[in-house]
Symmetry: C2
């Protein structure tokens, strides 16, 4: 989509931000090109010039949110090269998106629901999950190499780590007072470090 | 809704089963009273007699699926009184619903999405999760009492267990070949038993 200074890029980004607001407020089933053009303060003609339909916009919004999550994780990674520290940073980045920046999290949830019935979005969603597991896998590999983690199957371990974070994010979405963000962070760390460090029970 | 022999109960159940098929095929956003009446082979008038709108039907479908999951878990529990065995049974019951009986799992996913924008469904979803955590909490309490599990905060542990199962169910929904059902079962058991049995790392 070009560089940041590209006005087309800025316009597309504005549409994506408007999409995320609409999704958080009313969900994908209530998203229409008309409502979105009003939220983004552009004509429907211009909206259609950028995005063919609401599925194309959901795909772009998911890409935007995933890139943002990658940047957050990378920012956490610059703090430490220690595998346990990086795992903590990854957990924190994900939990903050799910609990504090909830608009972003609702994009993922919209994508889950639609991917069940739309083959194009299903591929996008599958690739988003592969990308997330690969990012987590990098931490695991580093930890195994350094001797911090036991030798585990990296793909399976990445899937389990992502599962725990997704699952607790879901519950915090449905019941904010279930536990505090620091408690959720600490519990995820405990469960995952025991898994990666402790011997078989 | 009365006993099984009650014809009203049977009719309501038929509508719920038709709803679950429709949800699995096209999702909640494409569910209409017209399509549902066709799927259930009843008139829209009769459909409206039983359920006010599609949200009421989603609520009934979720109740149905949750009751079914409870029955599956109870069936697993009759096999053993051992807390670790019961935990394994609970994991198995949940994973089977998510991977083998996928129609049921899509009801939960539809409920998640709609609960973000509908306060009535949000309450229902919150209560569904409380019920699931309470059921898991019973296993944890029994395991702590017997000395099989370390003394943990039961609510927090239940949330973590449910999180891992939900999260891996999600990934298996999006990528069936990610891992086999026995592998997912074994991995969940490993992660959770290490958490509940191993000392702090």
């Amino acid at each position: 989509m070009g560089r940041r200074s590209d006005p087309n890029h800025t316009r597309a980004n504005e549409i994506i931000r408007a999409t995320i607001r609409c999704l958080a407020r009313n969900g994908f089933s209530h998203l229409t090109m008309k409502r979105l053009s009003e939220e983004a303060r552009i004509s429907q003609g211009i909206l259609h010039y950028y995005f063919k339909d609401k599925r194309a916009i959901l795909a772009a919004a998911a890409e935007h949110v995933m890139n943002d999550l990658d940047l957050r994780a990378e920012s956490e990674f610059t703090r430490t090269a220690d595998p346990k520290g990086r795992l903590r940073g990854m957990i924190r980045a994900c939990l903050v998106v799910a609990t504090v920046d909830r608009e972003f999290w609702t994009v993922f949830m919209a994508l889950w629901g639609e991917s069940l019935h739309d083959s194009g979005l299903a591929v996008l969603n599958k690739n988003t999950y592969r990308r997330a597991r690969k990012s987590i896998g990098g931490i695991i590999e580093r930890g195994i190499a350094s001797g911090d983690f036991k030798p585990v199957n990296v793909l399976q371990a990445s899937a389990m780590i992502l599962a725990l974070i997704d699952g607790i994010s879901l519950q915090l979405t449905f019941e904010k007072k279930l536990m505090s963000l620091p408690d959720a962070q600490r519990l995820c760390e405990t469960v995952l470090l025991k898994y990666l460090v402790a011997p078989e029970p």
